[in-house]
C-alpha cells in the first residue's frame, strides 16, 4: 500500500466562509444604514442638542411679547411664527424641549435601574425568588398609573422630573417582564453554562455573557419607552401640570394651539410636529435596532425567480449535456430521471451542477453527502420547493415522461402531494399543532380522492394502520404534541401517502429520531416500497441508513455527484476518494471487525458555492490529488450503470490505493510544542 502524503494541517483553518466582513473594523452600525434608523437618530440628536443648548442660540427670550405680531406665520423674524401673545415659537419650543427630554431620560434610567437587575436575578434563580419578584411586579403593573401620577402631583406639586421618576418605578415592572424573558432565553445558551462551569461568579456571568446578548432588546425597549415618556410629559403639560405660564412647555403650547384652531391654525403645526416627530423618531430608531439582526438578507423578487426559471427552460432546449460525455438514456422503468440538473441562487453562484439521477419504479435512491453538498437542494428541486431566491437554472427533471423544469407553479401543484410527496426531518414541524391528526389527514384525503367526510376518516385510519400504528382511532383523536417523535414521523408518512404518490422524497427522515425508532421507520419505508411499488429518493448523511434501505446511491460533494451506482457496489468497493474517506470516517463497523484505532479524516471543509475550483472540487482536500485533477475531465462509468467523477480512478484501482487515517497523535501535533 503506498503511503500517501498527508496534507499539512495548516489548511484546517481554511475559513468555511469567505470572510466577507473583516471583524471589528470600524463601520457604520447596521441600524444606521436603514433610513428609519438614520433619520430617527439624526432627529433625536438635533432635538436633544438643540434644546439643551437653547439658551445659547435662541433668537428671542421666551417671554418677549410682540403683540403686533400675534399668531404670525413663519417669517424671517420669526422662523416658526409666533403665538397668541406674539412670542417667538422657535425659541419657546427649543427652550421647552429640555424638560420632556431630560425627565424621560430620568424615567428610563429609573425603570431600567430597577427592572433590569431584578430580571437578571430572577432569571438566575428560578423558583421562589423568581416567583416572588414576578408577583411583586404584577402588583406594580396593576396600579392605575394615571391616577397615581396625579396623586403624586397633588403631593409634590409640579415637579415633573420627580413625577417622571415615579412613573419610571411603575414602568420598571414592564421592563422587568420583557427583560426576564430575554434573560431567561440567554441563560439557556450553552456558553452561559460553560462560563458557570468555569467557576465564574454570578456578577461576571451576567456582565460578560448575559447582558451583552440582551443589548439589542434593551436598546429597543429604551427607545420605545423614551418616546412614551415624552408623550406623558406633554400630556401632563396639556392638562396643565408642568411649568406654568409664562414658562414654555410642549404640552401647554399644543393646548394653547387647540383653542386657536380657527383664527391661527398654523400655531398647532410647529409644536405638534416637533412632539410627533420626536416620538416617531424614537420608535423608528427602536425598529431599526430591532431589525439589526436581519440586516443584509437580500430579497429577490418573484419576477427574477420566474425569469431564471424561464431561462432554464430555454437553456435546456438548446444545450445538450455538456458535463457528461455519455448522455444517459432514460430507462423504461424509470419513475424519475434527472438529467444535468443545475440549481443556482438567482443572480448568484450555482448550488448544484450537472446532477443526473435515475429512480426506477419500486426502488430507493439514496442521496448522501455532508452538509453543504447540495443533496437537500437537489431533492427539493424535484418538488419545485426551493427556497426563495433559488431556482433550477438548467437541465431536466423528467417525472413519468413529463419534464417538470420550467412548468408553471399551478401545474406543479398538481404533482406535489398527489404524485410526488415529501417527508422531512422534523415531523413535529410538519404537523400543525392546532389541529387533530384526523383533521390534518382527512383534509388532504378529501382533496386528493374526492370522498366525503366519513369515508375520508375511514381511509385515514387505514393509512395509519398501513404505517404501523396499531391504535389508529386514538391517534386520530390526538394532537401533534401528544405524539412521540417516531409516532409523528409515522403520521407524516401517512400524510405523504394520502395522495397515493408514485415518488416519495424523504429529506433526512430519521435524523432527528432515536436509533431504535430510526430502525422502525426504515423498516416501515422498506415495507411500503415492497408492498406498494412506491419509489423513494432518500436524502441522508448516514451511510448506514443508505446500506439499510437504498438500492442505488449517489454520493454528492460540493454540488455534484462524485460517485453513483448500486449501493452494494459503491459502499463495498468505493472508487472515489471522497467515498473512501467517508467510509473510513464512519466508526460503525460490522460485528466481528475490530474498531479502528484511528478514523480516516478529511482535512479542511467543503468549499462553499461560488468558490469551487476548476476540475475536481474535492482536489483541495484529497490525499491523492495531482495536477491532472485541476482541469476539467469527464466522468468514468462504474458500478454497472453508475459513474465515478475522478480522473485518477484507474490509477488508484491499479495500485490498490485506499484512504488511510494518519498516525495517532497527528491531530494534536501542529506546530512545535503543544500544551504540556
Amino acid at each position: 500500500m503506498s503511503a500517501p502524503q498527508p496534507l499539512p494541517d495548516a489548511d484546517l483553518l481554511a475559513p468555511d466562509k469567505p470572510a466577507t466582513e473583516p471583524a471589528r473594523t470600524r463601520r457604520v452600525p447596521a441600524f444606521l444604514r436603514r433610513p428609519g434608523g438614520a433619520l430617527g437618530a439624526l432627529w433625536l440628536v438635533v432635538v436633544v442638542v438643540g434644546s439643551l443648548t437653547a439658551p445659547l442660540w435662541v433668537p428671542y427670550d421666551v417671554t418677549t411679547q410682540d403683540l403686533a405680531n400675534r399668531l404670525a406665520l413663519p417669517s424671517a423674524d420669526h422662523l416658526l411664527g409666533t403665538d397668541p401673545l406674539g412670542r417667538d415659537l422657535l425659541s419657546r419650543i427649543a427652550t421647552a424641549g429640555s424638560l420632556p427630554l431630560l425627565s424621560s431620560a430620568l424615567m428610563l434610567v429609573v425603570a431600567f435601574a430597577i427592572g433590569l437587575p431584578l430580571a437578571l436575578v430572577a432569571a438566575e434563580r428560578p423558583g421562589r425568588t423568581e416567583r416572588f419578584i414576578s408577583r411583586a411586579t404584577e402588583v406594580l403593573l396593576a396600579l392605575p398609573a394615571t391616577v397615581l401620577l396625579l396623586a403624586v402631583i397633588g403631593i409634590v406639586g409640579n415637579e415633573i422630573p420627580l413625577v417622571m421618576a415615579v412613573f419610571g418605578v411603575l414602568l420598571s415592572a414592564a421592563v422587568y417582564r420583557v427583560m426576564l424573558g430575554v434573560a431567561q432565553s440567554v441563560r439557556q445558551r450553552l456558553y452561559v453554562d460553560a462560563a458557570r462551569v468555569d467557576g465564574l461568579g454570578s456578577l461576571r456571568v451576567n456582565v460578560r455573557h448575559v447582558l451583552p446578548a440582551m443589548g439589542t432588546v434593551i436598546a429597543v425597549q429604551g427607545a420605545q419607552l423614551f418616546g412614551i415618556g415624552i408623550l406623558v410629559v406633554a400630556g401632563l403639560a396639556f392638562l396643565g401640570f408642568g411649568p406654568g405660564e409664562p414658562a414654555p412647555s410642549w404640552g401647554f403650547m399644543i393646548n394653547d394651539a387647540s383653542s386657536h384652531l380657527f383664527d391661527g391654525p398654523w400655531l398647532l403645526v410647529p409644536s405638534g410636529l416637533v412632539l410627533a416627530l420626536t416620538v416617531v423618531a424614537a420608535n423608528e430608531l427602536a425598529d431599526a435596532l430591532a431589525a439589526r439582526g436581519g440586516a443584509g438578507a437580500k430579497r429577490r423578487s418573484r419576477k427574477q425567480v420566474r425569469a431564471a426559471a424561464a431561462a432554464a427552460a430555454a437553456a435546456q432546449g438548446e444545450s445538450g449535456s455538456e458535463q457528461d460525455a455519455v448522455a444517459q438514456p432514460v430507462p423504461d422503468d424509470a419513475v424519475l430521471a434527472v438529467r444535468d440538473l443545475r440549481v443556482s441562487v438567482v443572480g448568484g453562484p450555482d448550488l448544484v451542477t450537472g446532477v443526473s439521477l435515475t429512480v426506477r419504479r419500486g426502488t430507493v435512491l439514496g442521496l448522501v453527502g455532508e452538509s453543504g453538498c447540495g443533496k437537500s437542494m437537489t431533492a427539493r428541486s424535484l418538488l419545485g420547493l426551493l427556497p426563495d431566491g433559488v431556482a433550477v437554472s438548467g437541465g431536466s427533471i423528467i417525472f413519468q415522461g413529463t419534464d417538470l423544469v420550467g412548468r408553471p407553479e399551478k401545474e406543479l401543484r398538481g404533482y406535489r402531494g398527489s404524485r410526488i410527496a415529501l417527508i422531512s426531518q422534523e415531523p413535529m414541524v410538519a404537523l400543525d399543532p392546532a389541529f387533530s391528526i384526523a383533521a390534518q389527514l382527512t383534509g388532504p384525503i378529501r382533496r386528493h380522492r374526492g370522498v366525503g367526510r366519513g369515508e375520508a376518516r375511514t381511509i385515514a385510519a387505514e393509512l395509519l394502520r398501513n404505517v404501523g400504528i396499531v391504535d389508529a382511532d386514538r391517534i386520530l383523536r390526538s394532537y401533534p404534541h401528544q405524539l412521540s417523535g417516531g409516532m409523528a414521523q409515522r403520521v407524516c408518512i401517512a400524510l405523504a401517502l394520502t395522495g397515493e404518490p408514485d415518488l416519495l422524497v424523504a429529506d433526512e427522515p430519521t435524523t432527528a429520531l432515536d436509533v431504535t425508532v430510526q430502525a422502525e421507520i426504515l423498516s416501515l419505508l422498506r415495507a411500503l416500497v415492497r408492498d406498494t411499488g412506491l419509489s423513494v429518493v432518500l436524502v441522508t448523511h448516514d451511510l448506514g441508513v443508505v446500506a439499510d434501505l437504498c438500492d442505488d446511491v449517489a454520493v454528492m460533494y460540493a454540488g455534484e455527484v462524485v460517485e453513483a451506482g448500486a449501493t452494494a457496489g459503491v459502499l463495498d468497493e468505493p472508487r472515489h476518494p471522497y467515498t473512501m474517506a467517508l467510509l473510513g470516517a464512519d466508526p460503525h463497523v460490522p460485528d466481528g471487525e475490530p474498531v479502528p484505532e484511528r478514523l480516516a479524516s478529511i482535512a479542511g471543509t467543503v468549499p462553499s458555492p461560488g468558490t469551487w475550483p476548476e476540475g475536481c472540487r474535492f482536489a483541495g482536500r484529497c490525499l491523492f490529488a495531482t495536477d491532472a485533477c485541476r482541469t476539467p475531465f469527464p466522468t468514468v462509468p462504474a458500478h454497472g450503470g453508475g459513474l465515478v467523477r475522478c480522473v485518477r480512478v484507474e490509477d488508484l484501482a491499479l495500485h490498490q490505493i485506499s484512504w488511510t487515517p494518519e498516525e495517532a497523535g497527528a491531530e494534536t501535533a501542529t506546530t512545535a510544542g503543544g500544551a504540556r
Binding site: 468555511d16 456558553y191 460553560a194 432515536d514 436509533v515 448516514d542 446500506a547 474498531v595 497527528a666 500544551a675
Partner: protein, 334 residues
C-alpha cells in the same frame, strides 16, 4: 484497538477520577414531583484516570442530566458526586472555581457554546484564575494542542467552522490542565469527516494527557471507538454496564441488544443480516405504554418480559463480563 489505550493496571485500587454514587435527580418540587419517576434513578459508576466511560442512551434516558448533575448545573436530589475522591455534590457553582481546574465540560453544540461577542482568547482564559501571568500563552498552547494555530486567540467564533469551534471548545477545557472532562455529545452535531477528526483528537488527548472522559452519547458506534467501558441507560436507570466490546458485541440486556442491532453499519450485506437479527428480536415500539413504576422500565417493550418484570425491579448483577439489570439475561445470551 481500544484495549490498547492506557487504562492503568491499578485502576481499581487508585482513587477514581470521577465517581457517581446512587445519583437521583428529580425535576420540579413538591408532592407531584416526588410521586413521579425520577429523571435519574440510583445511578452509580466510576471513571478511572486515563479511562473513557461511555454513557449511552436514547433521548429521555437521562444521560445529559447526569452530566449536568456532575457539573453542578442541575442539583441532585440524592446521591454523591466525587472528583478525585472529593465530594462535590452540594458544592455550589460559585465555590467550584478551584475545582474547575479538575472538572471540565465540552458541550454538544459548538455554535452556542462559544459567546459570539468574545474573542477566542477571552473565552479561553476565562477559567484561569484572575491575574494568571501567562494566560495568553496558555490559551495559545491549548489551541495548538487541538491542532489550531495559536493566533486564533484574536478571532471571533463566527470565523470558524463547526469542527473548528468544537476544537476550540475542547481547547477551552484543556487550558486549566484538567483531570476529568465531561463530553456531552461532542460530535453529534458534526458531519462525518469532521466527527472523525474530533474523535481522533479526543483519542490523542486522552492518551497524551491521561485524561478521564465521561463520554455522553447516543451512538454506540461512536462510543465504541473512544470508550473502554460503557453504561447503558434507559429511562434514568442503568440497564447494563461493562467493557464496551462485551456490551456491544454480546449484549446481556434486551435493551442493549435493541440498541446495538438498530445502529446501521455502512455495509449492505452485513446490514441486511443485522436487520434480520433485529427483527427476530421482536422489540416493541418505543413509547407504546408507560412502564410499571415498580418493575423494569423496559418491560413494556421487552420480548422476554414476564410477570416478575412488572412487579420487581431487577438489580444489577454480574452476567458474563458485564453487570446487567435483567431478570432474563441468561435467556438472551443462550
Amino acid at each position: 484497538m481500544t484495549a490498547a489505550a492506557p487504562v492503568r493496571e491499578d485502576a481499581a485500587t487508585t482513587t477514581p477520577a470521577l465517581e457517581v454514587r446512587d445519583l437521583v435527580v428529580r425535576y420540579g418540587s413538591g408532592r407531584k414531583a416526588r410521586a413521579a419517576a425520577p429523571a435519574i434513578d440510583r445511578v452509580s459508576f466510576t471513571v478511572a484516570p486515563g479511562e473513557t466511560l461511555g454513557l449511552v442512551g436514547e433521548s429521555g434516558s437521562g444521560k445529559s442530566t447526569i452530566g449536568k448533575a456532575i457539573l453542578g448545573l442541575q442539583p441532585p436530589s440524592e446521591g454523591q458526586v466525587l472528583v478525585q475522591g472529593r465530594d462535590i455534590t452540594s458544592l455550589p457553582l460559585r465555590k467550584r472555581r478551584g475545582l474547575a481546574a479538575d472538572l471540565r465540560v465540552v458541550f454538544q453544540d459548538p455554535y452556542s457554546s462559544l459567546n459570539p461577542a468574545r474573542t477566542i482568547g477571552q473565552t479561553l482564559v476565562e477559567p484561569l484564575p484572575r491575574g494568571t501571568a501567562d494566560a495568553t500563552t496558555r490559551a495559545r498552547q491549548a489551541l495548538e494542542s487541538v491542532g489550531l494555530p495559536g493566533d486564533a486567540v484574536d478571532r471571533y467564533p463566527t470565523q470558524f467552522s463547526g469542527g473548528q469551534r468544537q476544537r476550540i471548545a475542547i481547547a477551552r477545557s484543556l487550558v486549566v490542565r484538567p483531570k476529568v472532562i465531561v463530553l456531552d455529545e461532542p460530535v453529534s452535531a458534526l458531519d462525518l469527516s469532521t466527527q472523525a477528526q474530533v474523535l481522533n483528537l479526543l483519542a490523542d488527548l486522552r492518551d497524551e494527557h491521561g485524561l478521564a472522559f465521561l463520554f455522553v452519547a447516543h451512538d454506540l458506534g461512536v462510543v465504541r471507538f473512544l470508550a473502554q467501558r460503557t453504561v447503558v441507560l434507559y429511562r434514568g436507570q442503568v440497564m447494563e454496564t461493562g467493557p464496551v466490546d462485551d456490551v456491544t458485541l454480546h449484549p446481556r440486556h434486551p435493551y442493549t441488544a435493541a440498541l446495538t442491532s438498530a445502529a446501521p453499519v455502512p455495509r449492505p450485506a452485513e446490514q441486511a443480516a443485522r436487520r434480520a437479527a433485529r427483527e427476530a428480536l421482536g422489540i416493541g415500539t418505543a413509547g407504546a405504554a408507560a412502564p410499571s413504576p415498580t418493575g423494569c422500565p423496559f418491560a413494556t417493550r421487552c420480548p422476554l418480559a414476564t410477570e416478575v418484570c412488572t412487579t420487581e425491579r431487577p438489580a444489577l448483577r454480574q452476567v458474563g463480563a458485564s453487570l446487567t439489570a435483567c431478570h432474563h439475561a441468561e435467556e438472551l445470551t443462550a
